[in-house]
């Protein structure tokens, strides 16, 4: 693949406003707290240390990067315009897009949009590259399948109504200063 690298000047941020450096402390605090909470339960004779999957489901925070999905707008159409930026950004080249033309107001849409979930590494680069907020990392993490073909997700499988993705989109807007 012809790789042409253009250095883009990013706005510089002061060190103090960068991604919270104190996240390390928070992380340690979370682990420590869990340790003591579980220790307390153990001493009280309880067995409930983990979530009982699949009877119980964990509600993931919006920061979780689950499988990438396509945003489906209220009119049932995808938001994606097949610009190919996610395809280019994807480090594992697991996205395949073939664009096509329509007579809608947005004249371009993906005729084929496939993600090979067996290669996706949930890095979220596609989401960051997308200029249309059309591909986002969902909270869906149960993506195993019985065959290799089954791990190839097509456009119809990837479309998720925008109402279900609201938390992630709000999170993105606040987080990436869109």
């Amino acid at each position: 693949m012809a790789v042409r690298i253009v250095k883009v000047k990013r706005p510089t941020q002061p060190w103090s406003s960068m991604r919270p450096w104190w996240a390390v402390v928070v992380g340690l605090w979370v682990s420590t707290r869990h340790f003591f909470v579980n220790l307390g339960r153990f001493l009280r004779g309880s067995q409930d240390f983990t979530v009982h999957f699949p009877e119980q489901r964990f509600v993931h925070p919006p920061a979780l990067r689950g499988m990438p999905v396509l945003v489906q707008m209220e009119n049932g159409k995808e938001r994606c315009v097949a610009c190919g930026l996610c395809e280019w950004a994807c480090p594992t080249t697991c996205i395949t897009i073939f664009p096509a033309e329509t007579n809608n107001e947005v004249e371009r849409y993906p005729e084929v949009f496939d993600i090979d979930m067996s290669r996706c590494m949930f890095c979220g680069y596609c989401e960051e590259a997308c200029p249309e907020e059309a591909i986002v990392m969902s909270r869906q993490v149960e993506i195993s399948s019985y065959s290799r073909q089954g791990s190839l997700w097509h456009k119809e499988d990837l479309l998720v109504p925008i109402s279900q993705l609201k938390t992630r989109i709000d999170y993105l807007r606040s987080h990436y200063e869109r």
Partner: protein, 537 residues
């Protein structure tokens, strides 16, 4: 008038000081060109080296000492002692202002715009523009996706009114279809009484710095950043326009012209540009075929070569080499034709011909001979006569002097009346063919080799003016595939018990030793602009 036409025959070299360093430039040439030649990256939209000066984009402004205001460098002729400042706060401010004005009403269609990735507005806006929009008013609406020609689309919102396309249609294609209507903020590019249908219309999409003019052929096909470019030569006529073959996933997506001032400047014709689909044609032969009792069957390359060699040897033992005729291909490279010349010499063939399809031409780029390398065959001395020996060969076939034919291309099917050809081919004892496709006239062939196209091999073509130019492999061939040159070499090895390889530089040495016209040129000198075989002075 072209930008450099003002120059006298021997332009005087003068010195210009740019940001404190002195550069050499030709007197009278546009200062912008001199700066670009010296490696200063001056942004510009409307200036094009092959078009007249317009001065409409105002992006190329520089500071000239002694002149109070900034000047556009494209319309400043170079003179001795000019002192120029390009890295100057005033210049940077002017560039930022121009970018902001251009983006004021720009639709920012980048995600769906075919130009994105090679768009000068994108590139310069990222480099010189400010990152934020200060506009509050809604953007101006214009017509989009207007069908302005057989092969072209226009998006008026994206147009930055640089007038390159207008000047192209007036000065190069000389048809004048495009105009800018209205004034100031209401200016809009459009066609008026005729559609943009000239033979070079798709060049306007190349020179358009933004995605306002798009070709229908490439519309919404693929993003340009996926494309790999291979420098090559257009195979569609004997002009030999220099091109870039743009490929991705082992497919050609478009051909674009490559600048060569001695051949095609920066242009190419539409029919040449669109003539690439035959390479990916699903009906193309993919495996060689040999004749057996119950008709032709697919076979492996090595088997087909063995079969062809055996048939040729047997035929020669029966009738002698003189009874074999050869039709040489104007689509093969010089090296392949040279090797074929060695092969027919070894076989003792006396009658060779070359069939060239002729068609529409003009006095700009399009030439009548619709093949890239007819001149090369003639330069090698393989064919003679006004019709390249076709009549002589066919008459000998009809008279029964020739009983076997080796066809390097199927062009003869389009040149000679099919009924006549059918009778001739039907009477042949031996028929060996290189062909792109299966053809009804080929049912009697003993061996059919699939032909290899210009995009799948390395070599050189000689254009109508005797300029040798390099072509390069842009697509991968299936494993085991043999190009024509390799087939000829293997046949030669079998017939003369030689141990040759098909190696370009080796063939060039051999061509030079044997005193062909190609002795005047060294293989290494051909890149990137080609080399003339004969001194043109």
């Amino acid at each position: 008038m072209a930008a450099g036409a003002k120059l006298t025959d021997a332009p005087k070299l003068v010195h210009v000081t740019v940001d404190g360093t002195s550069i050499e430039a030709r007197e009278g040439e546009p200062l912008l060109q001199a700066l670009l030649n010296a490696g200063f990256d001056i942004p510009h939209y409307c200036y094009h080296p092959k078009l007249s000066i317009d001065g409409s984009c105002r992006l190329c402004q520089v500071k000239l000492e002694g002149i109070p205001k900034l000047q556009i460098s494209c319309n400043t002729p170079v003179r001795d002692g000019l002192v120029v400042h390009v890295d100057d706060p005033e210049v940077h401010l002017a560039r930022r202002g121009v970018e902001e004005l251009l983006l004021l009403n720009h639709p920012l269609d980048c995600p769906i715009c075919d130009k994105a990735g090679e768009c000068w507005l994108q590139n310069y806006a990222m480099r010189f523009g400010s990152r934020f929009s200060r506009t509050r008013d809604p953007r101006r609406k214009r017509q989009k996706r207007i069908d302005i020609g057989e092969r072209m689309l226009l998006d008026q919102e994206r147009c930055i009114l640089c007038r390159r396309c207008v000047r192209f249609c007036r000065e190069i294609s000389k048809t004048g279809e495009l105009h800018i209507f209205n004034l100031g903020d209401r200016s809009v590019l459009d066609i008026y009484d005729q559609r943009l249908d000239n033979d070079y219309s798709m060049c306007t999409a190349d020179i358009c710095p933004v995605g306002a003019l798009e070709t229908k052929d490439f519309h919404h096909k693929i993003r340009v950043w996926f494309l790999e470019e291979t420098a090559s030569v257009c195979p569609s006529c004997s002009n030999g326009c220099n091109i870039m073959v743009c490929t991705y996933k082992n497919r050609i997506w478009r051909l674009v012209p490559r600048r060569n001032d001695a051949v095609n400047d920066t242009w190419m014709c539409d029919s040449g540009r669109l003539n690439y689909r035959f390479v990916m044609d699903p009906e193309r032969l993919r495996t060689p075929r040999i004749a057996q009792q119950n008709g032709q069957v697919d076979t492996a390359w090595e088997v087909a070569v063995q079969e062809a060699a055996a048939q040729l040897n047997a035929f020669r033992a029966r009738h002698g080499g003189k009874a074999l005729g050869a039709v040489i291909s104007p689509h093969l490279t010089n090296e392949e034709n040279y090797r074929f010349g060695e092969l027919i010499h070894a076989l003792g063939v006396e009658r060779c011909a070359m069939a060239v399809v002729r068609g529409k031409y003009d006095n700009f780029l399009i030439k009548p001979e619709k093949a890239a390398n007819a001149r090369g065959v003639r330069e090698l001395g393989l064919v003679a006569g006004n019709d390249d020996g076709v009549d002589d060969l066919l008459a000998a076939c009809e008279a029964g002097q020739i009983k076997g034919l080796y066809l390097c291309s199927e062009d003869i099917f389009h040149v000679i009346d099919p009924d006549r050809l059918n009778t001739i081919l039907g009477s042949m004892e031996l028929l060996i063919v290189h062909s792109l496709k299966q053809h009804p006239l080929l049912t009697g062939a003993a061996v059919i080799f699939p032909a290899t196209t210009f995009a799948e091999k390395d070599g050189t073509f000689t254009n109508h003016a005797g300029r040798v130019q390099r072509i390069r492999r842009a697509l991968q061939l299936p494993a085991g595939w043999l190009t024509e040159g390799e087939v000829f070499t293997r046949l030669l090895n079998q017939i003369e018990a030689r141990q040759e390889q098909f190696d370009l530089s080796f063939i060039w040495q051999s061509m030079a030793r044997n005193g062909t016209a190609f002795a005047n040129v060294r293989f290494e000198e051909i890149d990137p602009d080609g080399a003339p075989l004969h001194n043109l002075a």
